[in-house]
């Protein structure tokens, strides 16, 4: 068995954890650290808080394993906890910024330049940093859609199931998420002082 847990062997690791196997907690933590970290970092822009929230997520999961009813995958359950922890932190910190509260279709009408940003000439690191900034300012629905499709690499049907919405809604959310990110990036490139 690998030293990091995965969806394939998580049941064995959970059983071992319950039986007191010291390696199980480490394996589960190592195995799901990446996905939980990515999810939290997509929501929270404070590095110290990210570490705290990630650990709190695992602590809450281990503390409430009896409540894990296997109706979803362990990873989905864990992400659900991470989501709640992140929201709690954002609420306490009074940070829930979003690029636009406007209706998606209204936003589309308001965009003067609807083309995708020309990023070829910009350093990848700069784009990465800017995109991270803008991703954290998407609405929750758009953020979650981008996470499940681009990080978890889910198909449209899987993402629809995960997000409890229709296939069409997932496609629509992704389109408008990309559009809002594009608008955010262009504003930042044009004027770095602009906050959104």
């Amino acid at each position: 068995m690998n030293s990091a847990a995965s969806d394939h062997d998580i049941e064995d690791w959970l059983a071992r954890f319950h039986d007191g196997d010291e390696r199980a907690a480490t394996a589960i933590y190592r195995g799901y650290f990446s996905v939980v970290s990515a999810f939290v970092r997509l929501h929270v822009d404070d590095a110290g808080a990210v570490e705290e929230i990630v650990d709190d997520t695992f602590l809450a999961a281990f503390d409430g394993l009896s409540r894990f009813e296997h109706r979803s995958s362990f990873k989905t359950w864990l992400i659900g906890i991470a989501k709640n922890k992140s929201h709690d932190w954002l609420r306490r910190a009074k940070r829930e910024p979003s690029i636009s509260e406007l209706d998606d279709t209204l936003l589309l009408d308001q965009l003067v330049d609807q083309s995708w940003p020309a990023i070829e000439r910009i350093a990848a690191m700069q784009i990465n940093k800017l995109l991270h900034f803008c991703l954290q300012r998407l609405t929750l629905a758009h953020r979650e859609a981008t996470f499940f499709v681009f990080f978890e690499e889910m198909s449209v049907e899987q993402a629809a199931q995960e997000l409890c919405c229709s296939v069409g809604t997932v496609k629509s959310r992704l389109f408008y998420a990309r559009l809002k990110l594009s608008d955010c990036i262009k504003r930042r490139l044009h004027n770095p002082q602009v906050q959104t």
């Binding site: 007191g20 010291e22 907690a25 933590y29 650290f33 990446s34 784009i127 198909s155 629509s172």
Partner: protein, 217 residues
């Protein structure tokens, strides 16, 4: 936006993450080959995916893992002391000893439970005892507990009367002469404990004619 362009834009994220069907992938590839502007969209979408993938590129080092395990142990420690043997807490958290002592602790809890139940029963079934020993511990509160009428020709200043009052921590709140006899309103420090001994002592000395217990009033 044409229908093809709209379809292309909707399928593109799944083209990038590799989850399209063969037919859909062919459509996107053909569209990309025909339209230059589509390449910009592909570059943009790929960069979004790269950024999001990078968010999860961190792996916890040993120090971080140990820190987490320490937190986990601290979290489980107090919880375990309440959970007894059926706890899901793993033994590697250093709590094996506590688990072994669980049954002994259970017996203590049972014994203590019976003890509390017995005490409660005693207090309910013996209200007199409860009241006398606890409820009527009233201190010198300035409220008269007994009205004492001294025997004829006995004055409150009589040394024997004063000695009795002092012995039983009594204080005279008021005195008046009625029909040639002194009537005293007396406050007792421990009424339930001392009122009857005081009365008995004064009666034995021949100084008491009558009395009235005022507490019940």
């Amino acid at each position: 936006m044409t229908n093809d362009q709209q379809r292309f834009e909707q399928l593109l994220p799944f083209y990038v993450n590799g989850t399209l069907t063969e037919q859909e992938r062919e459509f996107v590839s053909a569209y990309l080959a025909k339209h230059n502007h589509a390449r910009q969209s592909l570059t943009w979408t790929s960069s979004i995916q790269r950024t999001i993938q990078d968010l999860g590129s961190v792996a916890p080092d040993d120090q971080r893992v140990n820190r987490f395990l320490q937190k986990l142990a601290e979290q489980q420690q107090p919880k375990h002391t309440q959970q007894k043997n059926q706890s899901s807490v793993p033994s590697f958290l250093g709590l094996a000893g506590a688990r072994e002592n669980g049954s002994r602790r259970d017996w203590w809890l049972v014994i203590m439970g019976f003890g509390f139940a017995g005490l409660a029963t005693l207090l309910v079934l013996m209200p007199g005892l409860f009241q006398n020993s606890v409820l009527h511990w009233d201190q010198l509160d300035g409220q008269a507990d007994i009205r004492v009428t001294l025997a004829e020709n006995v004055k409150p200043s009589d040394p024997v009367v004063i000695a009795s009052l002092q012995r039983y921590n009594a204080m005279v709140l008021e005195q008046k002469e009625v029909d040639g006899r002194y009537e005293l309103l007396v406050d007792l420090k421990r009424r339930s404990h001392d009122q009857h001994p005081l009365i008995q002592a004064m009666r034995d000395d021949g100084h008491l004619e009558s009395y009235t217990l005022l507490a019940a009033r």
